[in-house]
């Protein structure tokens, strides 16, 4: 290797990944480049590289999750890091330990990265403030953000369509409670997509829609809202469906699941309105027959299964960048 490569930036600017509003386009593209290398590792017979040997990653999950936790664990293990899983059931939080004290304990254990999922929005930010040397990755906080899911969605779009810029992306469903959708709004906006949101009025995120009206240069000023799914899907390149959290019906946001499914469910009939090569995505877990018809979920346009593999590669790239990158000592 030459010792004097041009001094290009080779890690993202941040020590933590809490949401995508902090990453600019070149940060995201850098993660994508490293993800390409990680995909190659995933396709090998022996899926193990020594990149993070001797590093410790702790996953701290206060909320249930299968795919995200397993995906981080697998990512860490393929990179040869030691991965320790802590769930709220088995941790001292059951004994009443505060998140602050848990943070101090993890810091004292010299974890290189902590992956946290928490039911309260902002938990990752709080943890990041307490940490000197540990990187925090937000794996979902309340209804706020889920940046690695969004990165893998963006990467999936880029791989299937070649680019994200100017593609019409329709996000359908429960936008109010979806942290995936919120992170995707930032990521898709940064990458230059044309975003259309579609869902019942009661499940639209009024907070940001209102702030849009107050500010003239709001980053989300160009996002369209469309209540009729058939109109929304016209000419779509990407259809992102979101899980309808059935507890929402009890909260009075929906009259009935059947009505929701009829008005907003993505069916093969409706998919014909989108572009013929449009891809269909879902962050999982799916309610087949409610927000997405089974034929669509497992049909030729679905990239839902490839999203899972991509998820491991994206998390490898994120862990590798945060743990090995040269980031400024403290987050400003």
């Amino acid at each position: 290797m030459t010792t004097n490569e041009p001094n290009t930036r080779n890690s993202i600017r941040h020590k933590h990944i809490l949401d995508l509003d902090e990453l600019n386009r070149s940060d995201i593209e850098l993660i994508f480049e490293n993800t390409d290398s990680m995909m190659e590792v995933l396709n090998r017979g022996i899926r193990k590289v020594p990149a993070l040997r001797g590093k410790t990653i702790i996953t701290l999950f206060y909320e249930s999750s299968t795919r995200t936790r397993v995906s981080f664990e697998q990512a860490g293990k393929i990179l040869s890091a030691d991965v320790i899983n802590v769930s709220s059931d088995g941790s001292s939080s059951k004994k009443g330990e505060s998140l602050y004290n848990t943070a101090l304990t993890l810091q004292a254990m010299k974890a290189d990265a902590v992956v946290i999922r928490h039911q309260h929005s902002g938990a990752g930010y709080f943890l990041a403030q307490q940490m000197d040397s540990t990187s925090i990755i937000n794996a979902g906080d309340g209804m706020h953000a889920h940046p690695t899911q969004s990165l893998l969605d963006l990467y999936t779009i880029k791989k299937h369509l070649g680019t994200i810029s100017s593609k019409k992306v329709v996000i359908v469903g429960d936008l109010l409670y979806s942290r995936v959708a919120r992170s995707n709004l930032w990521g898709l906006t940064t990458m230059g997509a044309n975003i259309v949101l579609c869902g019942p009025k009661t499940l639209l995120p009024q907070d940001f829609l209102d702030s849009r009206l107050r500010e003239t240069n709001h980053p989300f000023r160009d996002i369209q809202i469309e209540e009729n799914i058939d109109t929304a899907l016209e000419g779509a390149d990407v259809v992102m469906t979101l899980r309808l959290q059935s507890e929402r019906q009890k909260a009075g946001h929906l009259p009935s699941l059947r009505e929701y499914s009829r008005r907003f469910g993505v069916t093969s009939e409706r998919l014909k309105i989108a572009k013929p090569n449009a891809i269909i995505m879902h962050p999982g877990p799916m309610n087949e027959g409610i927000e997405i018809e089974s034929d669509v979920a497992h049909g030729p346009q679905s990239v839902i299964e490839s999203q899972v593999t991509t998820g491991v590669a994206i998390r490898m790239a994120v862990l590798y960048d945060l743990i090995t990158g040269n980031h400024s000592e403290k987050e400003s």
Binding site: N10, S11, N34
Partner: protein, 178 residues
């Protein structure tokens, strides 16, 4: 900073011609060979050697590319470079792998490359071809094929420029003015 040219495009061509012949001589032909270029400038060099070999032997040798980002032993000390995917699509078991790089210096990249190759299979041999050997080894590693030996000091920088990447072929050495 003083910059001196230590290899011209013609000299580089002659060096690669000789290396290609040496590879064929040492391995009694092109059979069973696979050239693996190390990112970034080893890759175009590997393709050039393949072209030369096929012009002598009429046989096309497999070429792969290797990124050692995930195998470095100094990731916490130096900022890592953006990785490029490793692309070795053929089976390397029982083949003769010739690693190709532009500059051989401490030998640490080659150590990392051998670890990376080992994860992909078990070649019968691994050989090393470099355009420039500038000395200062920190590991017991040597090259089998060397374009040019250049005595350097550690303060100096050796830069290989290739038409495919930099628009021209030359090797320059730059030393800081003290």
């Amino acid at each position: 900073m003083s910059v001196k040219k230590i290899q011209t495009d013609v000299q580089m061509k002659r060096a690669l011609t000789r290396i290609s012949h040496e590879i064929l001589e040492r391995n009694s032909g092109a059979k069973n060979l696979i050239l693996v270029g190390m990112h970034s400038r080893g890759v175009p060099l590997a393709f050039r050697i393949r072209k030369l070999i096929s012009s002598y032997e009429g046989q096309t040798v497999d070429v792969g590319s290797l990124d050692i980002g995930l195998y470095r032993d100094d990731i916490s000390e130096k900022p890592q470079a953006t990785m490029k995917p490793t692309d070795i699509s053929v089976d390397i078991n029982e083949r003769i792998v010739v690693l190709v790089d532009d500059v051989l210096y401490t030998g640490r990249s080659i150590r990392a490359a051998m670890d990376a190759i080992k994860d992909l299979g078990r070649p019968s041999q691994i050989q090393l071809a470099v355009l420039i050997d500038r000395g200062h080894r920190e590991l017991p590693i040597r090259a089998d094929y060397v374009g040019k030996n250049v005595p350097t000091s550690k303060e100096e920088d050796v830069k290989v420029k290739l038409a495919e990447v930099d628009g021209l072929d030359e090797v320059v050495i730059s030393s800081p003015i003290t």
